[in-house]
Amino acid sequence: MIEALTSFLPPILADHAVVLAVVIPLSLAPVAAIMPNGRLGWLVALLGTLAAAILTLSVAGDVAQNGIISYALGDWAPPHGIEFRVDALNAAVLILVSALGLLGVVYALPSVADEIARDKQSLFYSAFLVCFAGLMGVASTGDAFNMFVFLEISSISTYTLVGMGAGNDRRALTAAYNYLILGTIGATFFVIGVGFLYMATGTLNMADIAERLPAVQDSRVVQAAFAFIIVGLGLKAAMFPLHLWLPNAYAFAPNFVTVFLASTATKVAFYTLIRFVFDIFPSDAPFVQVSFLWVFAVLGVIGMIAGSIQAIFQNDARRLLAFSSVAQVGYMMLGLGIGTMAGISAGVLHLLNHAMMKGALFMALGIFALRFGVRQISDLSGLARTMPATSVAFTVGALSLVGVPMTVGFWSKWYLVGAALDAGWWWAAAAVIISSLLALAYVARLLAAIWVGKVPVHRGEEIRSRAPLTMAVPLWILAAANVVFFFDLSPVLELARAAAEAAFAGGIR
């Protein structure tokens, strides 16, 4: 299916599509910043993400047909110059980021207009474009140091975006501050790890590192590099127990930022983890093998149980979903930790699916917040009567989160449990099931409030409201995706399988 997408762009664009998908949003960021009002800023952001999405489709088609794309920046040949390198693994991530970025921007206008001060709106969109370009860059680059640069670009703009929630709730500032401290620690760890790798191999190009590492894999330097890199990236991916920045950041950021971050940022970080663990480090080295079980699987399992339990006791709706995100990252980590092809593909599958469900959930919450200032779970009471359509979409996302059949979340759990059983990991399969039951508990709190709670009444009349069209459409696209892909999973599954194969084949090597 994806193969058909190649060459729909003129060659001059198609040849440079990889890099343009990053450069266009990045260079539109200052343009957005000088726009006189938020509406124009939004338009620029829309253009940027739209261009990136189209270019990404072309890239994905190219990858599906030709395998790996390698693009030398400024024609400096790869081992020395910076290289952009896309295979099926990061093609999937690029599709995810650009698609959700585009949907997010379409959704953003009313929400941002409501939450961000008028004179800061174009700056807000500018920061968003920087963040978006950074994430796209992380997912495309084939150079380890360049990856650090893009990580920092996306992170720093994210701190800004989170901090802009201060207009609504001053706690956004502390949340952003905490995130900044921790994000910086994570980035520092990562760059220290990359430095060690450079020390051991004398190169920064990821493919090149991968080639040279097996020869020196027994050295302590490489092992230290491994530890620093997975902790650094684990922090960015909100791996338990490094997730503490996430709940507040998601809960107090502007709604649109939460939608975007929840569906893309941790996913990109998770991609970098797969890339490093499977492709760059020799995955048959003993220290990598041991870390599958003792780091990723164990922390993943603890994370999905602890995150779910913590979610049950939250009162703030977005905080609840944020803790659920921690649990969901646990599922992905478990998939990674299983370490088989099936495990990785289950992890990537859940990565894609989770973006759909959390995207839909946070979008619906954003609409509720726009209309009624909803923050607490108790505020959701009776919204099924007040905003029926949005409530249905929210419910679809929530059921998908639990993994109820007829939603795509079911397949996530299905393949994950299957992969765990294939590997003989009974305890992991049991943990997935327990965590799903816990998910049922916290989702039931949300749904009970919406569907069974008392309907808000104003002067004896039930309040009615509906979502703005530009917000409802992206929400419904995501909610429908949750159901449609249940019945025909093959496009998503194909992406995930190809990604896992690429990771396994050492797409970089």
């Binding site: 905490n178 401290i181 620690i185 092992q223 530890a227 127990p241 503490l244 109820v404 059949p405 093959s490």
Partner: protein
């Protein structure tokens, strides 16, 4: 396309009607859907030309058989359609979109599950029955119903999860997802049995039934009583026919609810207990596993859905008019609701298996099957339980609701649509008892040789019934019958409703305290080290208060240490 049309499962029209119902703003259109959908499903049932597997499609590498029409699923499908029609009629007066939608979807899911040919399809519909039916419990719209619904949902989702896990294991072992006779000793076999057992309300797994059904609405309880447990009985008959322990499980199921039912005050809860007892007969028949035993289970399920539905309908009518089904609030209603009382008596006659009522021709099969299998003790228990049925369902329900001391409740007769539904069900109770050939022709195995109205059957049954009647009269006359007192009877669900809940609360409190104690310890250590360090780094004490980012940094380093250690040791 032709293939698809000729073998469409009767579940689809009902499910589609359910979805339409959810978005249908007009009350009358919804009611029309509730009547027409079962008729359409019935049409599909009749038009299916021969037995076989239809509606097969493939998705995601699995084969889904959505419509397996064979002698076993045929009879269950028919009675589900029939029950759905009666329910639609009975619910005609009720203005509740949630309840209408849930009832249709739930019926459709039940049909889908009965016609499922493989475990995956079965699992989908199995879960769908749970998720849709819980809304019928919630339709009670009070906190008690709401909490009971939660418990109900949790247990049924657990059953689905067990089923799926068992099916995965079993399919790995047998290499096929087909849902046929299951070997209980194979991996996953026990899990599947447990999943079915939960839905069939096996002893100790039964509490959800008495917990949830009586808390539903008048209509909700009627709908609920028809499908969930009978679906489980079907699944047992399909998967575990001839499994000997089931005879014992069935015998115990028939016996123990009798005591609860006799002392219970809420008459709908009495019916829920007697539902349990009836299921025991079917489970015992399945345990015997002979043609006669399975026929007994199937015939019993068929007539049971109708007369149990009828009894729930009469109690629903009482609830609708009086507002309560507590025995202490009722009595003497035959004066104001004569027709309902009459239908209730017919239902009572059927459930007590009086000759010429449908219960008689069905129960005779099961008891004969158990007798022929040579299991003496279960046989005696079943006979005793038959007397118990008469005691609590046959006499207690009509007696305390419609006769006994007059509670001076003067209400209107039940609405016309309820009367019509009850009348139809009552007619079927008698029709199937008299023209039992029609029932026997539907059964999965040929029944030519069997004659229910033999002298020894009739005499034996009448002896039993008369003795039980005498006992009841005697006890009531001399005021020895357990008085109807408003109260709560403790069942084993106390363990999870009260003890489990308390335990979780207790652990949470203890955890809280432990964290508090740890805080003290930390404070003491800090005091011992002196606050000087803190003062140096944050004159205002801001840093010492700002635990989160500091704590996080510490976590990060700890994790780095651990990973380093792991990497070094590997």
């Amino acid at each position: 396309m032709i293939d698809l049309m000729s073998g469409l499962s009767p579940a689809w029209p009902v499910l589609i009607a359910g979805v339409l119902c959810a978005v249908m703003p007009w009350h009358y259109a919804r009611k029309a859907l509730m009547i027409l959908a079962p008729l359409a499903a019935g049409l599909f049932w009749f038009l299916t030309p021969q037995t076989g597997v239809f509606g097969v499609f493939e998705a995601a590498g699995f084969t889904f058989e959505t419509f397996r029409f064979d002698p076993l699923s045929r009879i269950w499908g028919l009675v589900f359609v029939l029950a759905a029609f009666l329910n639609g009629l009975y619910a005609l007066h009720e203005r509740d979109r949630m309840s209408d939608t849930a009832a249709l979807l739930y019926t459709g899911a039940g049909l889908g599950a009965v016609f499922a040919g493989d475990f995956l399809t079965l699992f989908f519909f199995w879960e769908l029955t749970a998720i849709t039916s819980v809304f019928l419990v919630w339709a009670g719209r009070n906190p008690a119903a709401f909490r009971a619904g939660h418990r109900y949902l949790a247990i049924h989702v657990l059953s689905g999860v067990l089923l799926l896990t068992g099916a995965v294991l079993y399919a790995n072992h047998s290499g096929s997802w087909q849902f046929n006779a299951v070997d209980v000793n194979a991996p996953g076999g026990l899990l599947i049995l447990l999943a079915f057992g939960i839905k069939a309300a096996f002893p100790l797994l039964h509490n959800w039934l008495q917990d949830a059904y009586p808390k539903s609405t008048a209509v909700g309880a009627v709908v609920l009583s028809a499908f969930t447990t009978k679906l489980a009985i079907y699944a047992l008959a399909r998967g575990f026919a001839g499994l000997e322990p089931l005879i014992w499980i069935g015998a115990i199921m028939t016996a123990f609810p009798v005591f609860y039912a006799v002392i219970e005050n809420d008459l709908r809860k009495v019916l829920a207990y007697s539902l349990n007892n009836q299921l025991g007969f079917m489970v015992a028949g399945i345990g015997v596993g002979t043609a006669l035993g399975l026929n007994g289970a199937a015939a019993h399920a068929f007539v049971h859905i109708i007369y149990k539905g009828l009894l729930f309908m009469t109690m629903g009518a009482v609830l609708h008019r009086v507002g309560s089904t507590k025995a202490t609030d009722l009595g003497g209603l035959y004066k104001s609701m004569p027709l309902t009382a009459f239908f209730c008596l017919i239902g009572a006659g059927a459930i007590s298996a009086f000759p010429l009522f449908s219960g008689f021709v069905a129960k005779a099969l099961t008891i004969s099957a158990v007798a022929q299998s040579g299991q003496t003790i279960p046989f005696i228990i079943l006979v005793f339980a038959s007397a118990g049925v008469l005691e609590h369902s046959g006499i207690k329900i009509p007696y305390f609701a419609f006769f006994a001391h007059d509670a001076k409740k003067r209400v209107k007769e039940a609405p016309a649509n309820m009367l019509l539904a009850m009348g139809l069900a009552a007619f079927l109770c008698i029709y199937l008892g008299v023209n039992y050939g029609a029932l026997y022709a539907l059964l999965p195995f040929s029944m030519e040789a069997y004659q229910p109205y033999s002298i020894d059957h009739i005499v034996g049954q009448m002896q039993l019934l008369l003795a039980a009647l005498f006992a009841f009269t005697f006890l009531v006359r001399f005021k020895l019958y357990p008085a109807e007192i408003p109260g709560v009877n403790l069942d084993t669900d106390w363990f999870y409703r009260k003890a489990g809940n308390d335990f979780v609360r207790w652990s949470w409190k203890m955890f809280d305290r432990m964290m508090g104690a740890l805080g003290h310890v930390r404070a003491r250590i800090r005091a011992r080290l002196g606050d000087r360090l803190f003062n140096v780094f944050s004159p205002a004490g801001a840093l010492s208060r700002d635990v989160p980012s500091g704590l996080l940094a510490i976590w990060t380093s700890v994790l780095l240490g651990i990973v380093l250690l792991i990497a070094y040791l590997a």
